[in-house]
């Protein structure tokens, strides 16, 4: 199932399917936010924003407004 990164819950994992290169800064891509990489939501701040992620072994935080431009595949359990 495909959802945006902003929709997943704490502790959930997925594989990045697509990133919109116009809305996503190059810096984020360079930190590993690329199609095919694993992503996990580690922790959220109050109001679920910003989001503390583990992308491909790199731990970083981004805002929800950026996360909606990242599509991920999550396995249906």
């Amino acid at each position: 199932m495909q959802v945006t990164l902003a929709d997943i819950k704490r502790g959930q994992q997925g594989i990045i399917a697509d990133v919109s290169s116009i809305h996503i800064p190059l810096k984020l891509l360079e930190m590993g936010c690329l199609p095919g990489n694993m992503v996990e939501l580690v922790q959220v701040a109050p109001f679920a924003d910003p989001m503390y992620l583990n992308i491909n072994g790199t731990h970083l935080a981004i805002r929800k407004e950026t996360a909606i431009h990242i599509l991920i595949d999550i396995s249906n359990e």
Partner: protein
């Protein structure tokens, strides 16, 4: 051999690059600025085997050669300019063993520039703990380099790294992948047009907006014609390039690195569960701040009393030893008290720098950024504004420079404009001396009134910063794209050496920077206070004796009357009394007025100025605070420093913009005089009004 090897240390932030720099250079380092810009330039000398010396530059941390800030531009400008005297003979890419994948991205980019490159894999002591194994020979072959496995924490591998640096000529300069495959046609054309140039260098020049002034201008213009692709196309190509690089890195690490997740332990998860918790996270942050302020007071008490006493006796000693005369008086009454007024605050300022260094080194600061982002955004700031606002408690100048990693211009501008409201260490001496004078010593819930007042002043500064940010956010009409990426590094026990060097460096520059101004100002003030025009000054003794004749004053009392009469009619007294009407409604006398005026150079000058004025007036051996406490207000007849005038003064210093260096840096960072002038007028006017209201209300 006379020539030094030029070495550039390059790496992602949080890889311990500075620890490697410290390990290589020790105390043989100096911190300066790159010419024309305020990016910190750290360089040092390292002794290599066989008597060779290396000149080492610690370049600002960057994730890639695609620069997105002034600091990162420095890296790429140096690496693209072969004529720069600092152009590296060899680059050392410092990486963190736990983030090898991401760190290697920058490494492959440097390799494409065909600079001899060593890969230093730091934090190797954590490999067992994380279940990581590396096949070094395989990695060296694939990455076309030599690898140094080092641990600055355990002091391992540094000699091997030095050995590799001294043998840099044996390193391969072949790139480890061919990134031009992402668009063959385009890159073939580029290669044909500039056959003598490095393809990757051309590509960087095309895609970057950096200032290539020092590179060859003509070439850049010719290259401009190659910007045929639209920005969106170029961006897509950059994305392809990044994917291509990661493919290579993933393939290499698949064979060269094994991670046994079962034996990996993770302290991060357990700590983050508490430290970034919705409730505990904020509570812990608050407790940490509270602890810091209590500690600044309690721990610094002993060295401060010692320094205070030492300067008082030094002044007396000088008077006894040197022959009597104007020169001795200048030293004993002008320079020594002026300098003593600032030296006394070294312990507290050093503690403040210590705590900030620990917060940053440990990785905790990123958690604060994460916790605060949402709240700060309501006020038009970014979570990243927290770092400037916290380090602004040390000094607004580095704090304003620290705004550079805020991606949105509007958020950054607002942060720059409000940062001077945070209580910088230059305000600390002023606060401390006034609190000592007007706030009683009692305790409330185990916390002293005095530290609580200090904490309150810090909170007022922070609160004003945030509220004015909110107002600016409503007023300023700037559209800028916002995005926010912050790395959450691993928690690390701060390295003693790093922390100690930071504290030493920062304290030194505070003392010498302020010391020079204070020395100059206290000499000038002494002259102005020791001489005066006309009979009122020169015949002071006769006038005073005539006035108080027959009142039965003792000799000492009479002497004091003469001294204060003289001071009032000295040059400084005349100036001070001329400005007195403007500050009288705030509860200040002319002495405080002079101190305020001179502290527009730098706030801490306030204390030095008062120290000089009071010691000219009163030659007894006494501490500055005691002299100030005894002074009376001629208008009210009561004490000069009362709760009302004290609090009015505290608030004036909390809000007024009194620092020329800060104004200069704001001008530089915003590239316009408009913003610093606005800061100066609005902040100072606000300070005056608040101080006026408070004094009139409390008196």
């Amino acid at each position: 051999m006379s020539k030094q090897i030029n070495v550039a240390l390059i790496g992602n932030p949080n890889t311990g690059k500075t620890s490697v720099f410290n390990a290589l250079t020790g105390l043989n380092q100096k911190v300066g600025n790159y010419p024309g810009i305020t990016v910190e330039k750290k360089e040092g000398i390292c002794k290599l085997p066989r008597g060779v010396k290396a000149h080492i530059i610690d370049l600002p941390g960057t994730y890639s050669l695609n620069a997105s800030s002034l600091d990162e531009n420095v890296v790429i400008e140096l690496l693209l300019n072969k004529n720069d005297k600092d152009f590296p003979d060899v680059a050392v890419v410092v990486s963190d063993v736990e983030n090898l994948k991401r760190n290697l991205l920058l490494y492959t980019q440097i390799k494409d520039l065909e600079i001899p490159t060593i890969l230093a894999i730091n934090m190797s002591d954590r490999m067992d703990y994380k279940g990581i194994q590396l096949d070094i020979p395989y990695l060296e072959q694939e990455l076309q380099t030599k690898i140094a496995l080092i641990s600055t924490r355990k002091n391992k591998g540094i000699n091997e790294l030095k050995e590799l640096i001294s043998n840099y000529k044996e390193l391969s300069i072949t790139p480890c992948l061919n990134a031009s495959e992402i668009d063959k046609d385009y890159f073939d054309k580029l290669r044909q047009a500039f056959p003598n140039q490095l393809l990757y260098k051309l590509w960087l020049v095309i895609t970057q907006d950096v200032n290539f002034g020092k590179v060859d201008r003509n070439q850049v213009e010719a290259i401009d014609s190659f910007k045929t692709k639209s920005t969106a196309d170029l961006k897509r190509l950059q994305q392809k390039e990044t994917i291509k690089r990661y493919q290579f890195i993933n393939n290499t690490l698949k064979k060269g690195q094994t991670i046994d997740l079962n034996s990996a332990k993770d302290l991060r998860i357990r700590l983050d569960r508490i430290l970034t918790h919705k409730v505990w996270g904020y509570l812990i942050f608050f407790v940490i701040l509270l602890t810091i302020f209590q500690a600044i007071y309690d721990w610094a008490q002993v060295p401060m009393e010692f320094i205070d006493g030492a300067f008082a006796s030094l002044g007396e000693w000088t008077k006894n030893v040197l022959p009597e005369g104007a020169f001795t008086n200048l030293i004993a009454e002008g320079i020594i008290p002026g300098l003593g007024g600032i030296v006394i605050f070294i312990p507290q300022i050093a503690f403040l720098f210590l705590f900030i260094a620990i917060l940053e080194e440990s990785g905790y600061m990123s958690r604060v950024v994460f916790l605060m982002d949402r709240i700060m955004r309501r006020f038009g700031l970014s979570g990243k504004s927290v770092v400037p606002l916290i380090s602004g408690t040390a000094c607004a100048i580095p704090a304003i420079m620290a705004t550079r990693n805020i991606e949105s211009w509007k958020e950054r501008l607002i942060t720059i404009l409000v940062t001077p409201f945070t209580t910088c260490s230059a305000r600390l001496p002023v606060y401390l001396i006034i609190i000592e004078l007007v706030i009683p010593e009692g305790r409330f819930l185990g916390l002293g009134y005095q530290p609580l007042t200090l904490m309150l002043l810090y909170l007022i500064g922070f609160g004003t910063a945030v509220l004015s940010a909110w107002a600016l956010n409503k007023i300023l009409k700037i559209k800028s794209k916002t995005f926010f990426v912050v790395e959450m590094p691993n928690y690390k026990l701060p390295l003693l050496k790093n922390v100690a060097l930071t504290v030493l460096e920062k304290t030194k520059s505070f003392v010498f920077g302020a010391g020079k101004i204070i020395l100059a100002i206290s000499i000038v003030l002494w002259f102005l206070a020791s001489y005066g025009p006309g009979d009122d000054f020169n015949k002071a003794e006769e006038i005073v004796h005539a006035e108080y004749a027959g009142q039965g004053l003792s000799d000492i009392e009479m002497q004091q009357k003469v001294a204060s009469h003289k001071l009032e009619h000295s040059f400084i007294g005349i100036t001070g009394r001329a400005i007195e009407p403007t500050i009288k409604p705030l509860g200040y006398d002319w002495k405080i007025g002079i101190a305020i005026v001179s502290s527009f150079a730098a706030r801490e000058v306030f204390v030095g100025t008062l120290a000089t004025i009071y010691s000219v007036e009163n030659e007894d051996v006494d501490t500055i605070t005691n002299r100030m406490a005894k002074d009376t207000n001629r208008t009210t007849g009561g004490k000069l420093f009362t709760l009302a005038s004290g609090i009015s003064l505290l608030l004036f210093y909390a809000f007024a913009m009194q620092c020329m260096s800060t104004l200069a840096i704001v001008k530089r960072e915003t590239n316009s005089w408009k913003w610093p002038i606005l800061q100066l007028t609005i902040m100072t006017a606000f300070a005056y009004i608040v101080a006026l209201i408070v004094y009139q209300f409390l008196k």
